[in-house]
């Protein structure tokens, strides 16, 4: 299904990026990426988390500097060394985290960074200008309101107004809908269309397919830092095609897996609701069970409630409704310690900020959950020698490569840090393991090691919930797969998992189709959510 490469070089290109290379320590974030933007279009930049979308746009906005490749603005090569240079060239970026001063008014924020009012602030005059500009693009904001009083959607409008006032012709929107409520998304789309009608060009970064389908004229898809589709026209592109370009599919390498013999239910979720950090609903009635000796895969595009789900299970996040039971005991909204003591282990997605304590030693990190009991603790006293002995054993058993057990874990590589976490989580013989993206960012060898360790736990009778965005990983480890989308379980895949039909089905469920009794249903009647109608229903044949 090769989408046609668009190559009509007619008029002036507001932005053209050729062969952009950007490295971060250990990661090639952008690998010779090409990107071009035409005047008056909305160009979506689609890809999973970590695919390199934001990196590419941060290069364009002058925040990062590329290691290779050229940027052309209006057909002239440019070199930005700060966002200021980019704005001077007419390129403005609205970040996911707004850059506003909360204690100042809307107008004051917009005037920040402008050269216009040289000394005297004639605020009233500017208030009127801001209001007028807002009117023009359908963005109602009170110019005299203080920013902290505004909703997130309104703050986003302020950012947009700021960029427009600074004279931006190209607007980069980094996941603009992630923080918005459905009605706000609709309003934003109206605004974006109004801006395009006035000849501005917009780059719309997203990992949500239906939004891209709804708003974009063309789309560029990134996967693992590489372009998988360059500037494809939206007409004639199906969601399935985009989903596959985005998620990709590599060759599976099979692990030896014994047949699944599930035992008693270990974890039971009943109608669980929870909110995310911004107070928006992130889980809406999740129910499922994980039984002893089975691996349940949870598939889904990042940000659809997976992390919140595992946090609720562990007691790190409040569950607003519903029940969580572990080994028959209710643990809903109980302290984290109780979950740990009833045999739960949790391999968090964020290894450095949640899963480990960077400046403490390997020893201190592996005893994080076992330091309360003997043999490490004797009442109040911590037996340091014993802790170090245990850490030494774990270091050998889990092949953690580090100079000594006193090495602070921030100096370890990603794979070794993950081994430290696994050593801690698995060595306590858990009855339930929640593993979130356990292999993200690891190299092939390390991935295999992690997979073996998890399967060994399954053999030992642990119930495992595996959250992953990698279909490959889900297929090779799971005994059945659930798909989550916007905080709801869209369906379950059982039996022979690794079939191309299942890939298709999972891809569609990941982007909002429901799977009921063996058939897919497009979810159409989702109140207020911007799902473009007119998309093909159900399965579509591919050559």
């Amino acid at each position: 299904m090769p989408p046609p490469m668009s190559t009509d070089n007619t008029a002036i290109c507001p932005v053209k990026m050729v062969g952009i290379v950007k490295r971060f320590p250990g990661i090639l974030a952008n690998d010779h990426v090409d990107f071009d933007l035409r005047k008056g279009e909305i160009h979506a930049l689609l890809g999973e988390n970590g695919a390199g979308k934001s990196t590419l746009m941060n290069v364009l906005a002058g925040l990062y500097r590329q290691e290779g490749g050229t940027i052309l603005v209006n057909n002239k090569p440019v070199s930005f060394s700060s966002p200021r240079d980019a704005i001077k060239a007419g390129i403005g970026m609205v970040h996911q985290h707004f850059m506003l001063v909360p204690s100042q008014t809307v107008t004051e924020n917009i005037l920040l960074g402008m050269e216009e009012p040289r000394f005297f602030l004639r605020l009233k005059e500017f208030d009127a200008k801001v209001a007028e500009l807002g009117e023009r693009f359908g963005m109602q904001v009170d110019p005299r309101a203080k920013v902290w009083q505004l909703s997130v959607g309104e703050q986003q409008r302020v950012e947009l107004l700021k960029m427009l006032t600074l004279g931006a012709q190209v607007l980069i929107m980094d996941e603009p809908t992630a923080v918005l409520a459905p009605q706000e998304i609709e309003a934003l789309f109206v605004t974006l269309r109004a801006m395009v009608a006035e000849g501005k060009s917009i780059i719309f970064i997203s990992h949500k397919l239906q939004e891209v389908m709804a708003i974009a004229d063309r789309v560029t898809v990134l996967r693992k830092g590489k372009v998988t589709a360059a500037g494809v026209k939206m007409e004639g592109v199906t969601r399935q095609e985009l989903a596959r370009l985005m998620v990709g599919r590599d060759v599976l390498f099979k692990l030896d897996k014994t047949p699944c013999n599930p035992g008693e239910p270990v974890l039971t979720l009943e109608d669980v609701y929870a909110e995310n950090d911004k107070g928006l609903p992130s889980l809406r009635g999740v129910s499922f069970q994980v039984r002893a000796g089975e691996v349940v895969g949870l598939a889904g595009v990042a940000g659809n409630g997976q992390v919140e789900l595992t946090q609720v299970i562990n007691g790190l996040r409040r569950c607003t409704q519903g029940q969580v039971r572990l080994n028959g005991k209710e643990i809903t909204n109980r302290p984290v310690l109780q979950a740990i003591q009833s045999g739960m282990s949790y391999i968090p997605e964020d290894r450095t900020h949640v899963g480990s304590s960077p400046n403490l030693s390997i020893t201190d990190n592996v005893i994080m959950k076992s330091y309360r009991q003997p043999p490490i603790a004797h009442g109040w006293v911590l037996d340091g020698a014993k802790a170090e002995h245990i850490a030494g054993e774990l270091k050998d058993a889990y092949e953690i490569i580090a100079p000594t057990i006193h090495t602070p874990v921030r100096l370890l590589s990603g794979g070794n840090l993950q081994r430290v976490i696994l050593a801690r989580e698995i060595s306590g013989h858990p009855t339930f393991i929640a593993a979130v993206q356990p292999t993200r960012g690891l190299d092939v060898g390390a991935i295999e090691g992690v997979h073996r360790l998890l399967l060994a736990q399954r053999e030992a009778g642990a119930a495992i919930l595996l959250v992953s965005e990698e279909l490959e990983e889900l297929f090779s480890l799971s005994d059945r797969i659930l798909v989550i989308y916007e905080g709801r379980i869209m369906g379950e895949i059982t039996g022979e998992l690794d079939t191309s039909a299942n890939v298709e089905t999972i891809g569609l469920m990941m982007t909002g189709s429901q799977y009921v009794s063996g058939a897919l249903k497009e979810e159409m009647n989702r109140g207020g959510e911007n799902i473009s109608p007119g998309q093909p229903q159900g399965m579509v044949q591919h050559d």
Binding site: F24, N58, S79, P348, P358, D364, I367, K369, V381
Partner: protein
Amino acid sequence: MTDDELTPDGKVTLPEGQAPLAGPTNGRGKSRFPFRIYLEPRLQEPPRWYPFAISFGAVAIALFFGGIVIAFAGGNPFASYAHIARASFGSLGVFSDTIVKATPLILVGLACSLAFRMKLWNIGAEGQFFLGAFGASAVVLLPILPENTSPWIFIPVMMLFGILAGALWGFVPGFLKAKYNVNEIISTLMMNYIAVHWNNFFIFAVWSDGGFQMSPVFPRTAWLPRLTDYAEQFPILRGLTAHLGLIMALAAVLVVWFILYRSRWGYEIRLIGDNPKAARYAGLNIQRNTILVMMVSGALAGLAGMSEITGVVHRLQGAISPGYGFTGIIIAWLAKLNPFATVLVSILFGALILAGREIQPSGIPKMIQGIILVCLIASDFLMRYRVGIERVGAEPTGEEA
């Protein structure tokens, strides 16, 4: 990988030297200087001696800058430093005086170290010190114990009240922080003023000694024993004012060391201090630990107040602290939050306080303290980054010169 994290770049380059890969520069990119300095985050743990070397280096540089200022003020830096050394370490007598100054500093330094370990910025050791002094005085002046009580009872009870009063003063900001996330820097700082004026109220109004702004002198049984008290048996001790508070401070050093490095609780403090998210994930109760640590920190500062009031001043009055509580912050940092290093640093600062009497203008030792602190905080940078120099225009970036 999170792509919205700011500059996870391997290198932070100071002047822009790297030629742009394509297109014209905007003029600012060129550097006239043939070398450039670059910084690189340390990827390896520096050797064990390194932090100490850096600290000593920082103090040496601070003394150098201090010397320049002294020279500008018309003094001879070498003579001044020699005088400071003689005035604080020159004889058994002055060394004993240095120890007397160092005693409360050790305790407040420990108070700050413990709280700072958990990244609780307790700026209120001064207030907790005053409350500790008040608590101990109350035992005599309220009175809680009659005047002729044996020292064997008097001193432990005064210790207890000093500790309790300091802990109370630590509890309030700790509770506010844990329960309502009130910034402890502000609350502890403000509570310093309350503490000082609370004491003033009692000095002026309640316990005033014949209209003077001080309480009557405590009975001898409520004094901490001093070395000079044993001059009958050992004549060499005559005039030495070092008191039992030093033993209390050293015992506290051992206790704090044990808590931090040998106890479950210390592990929790270190874990929360380094990464509260990971601590919560490991099932720790951060709120409870916040309150507890603030209380113990306050208790240590309160003990310092008790020791000062019963070991040196022997009455409650206004000027009982030349800013011990604030100096404690500096000491904690200088000692890199290590309890044993706190003792050495406190003796150094005790010497500087003592020298303030000898050196004119008397602001000089204060200034030296200030410069030491600035150099020390600046030196922390070298713990995290390594500095290199490289030739501009030379081949690829990243080579070390």
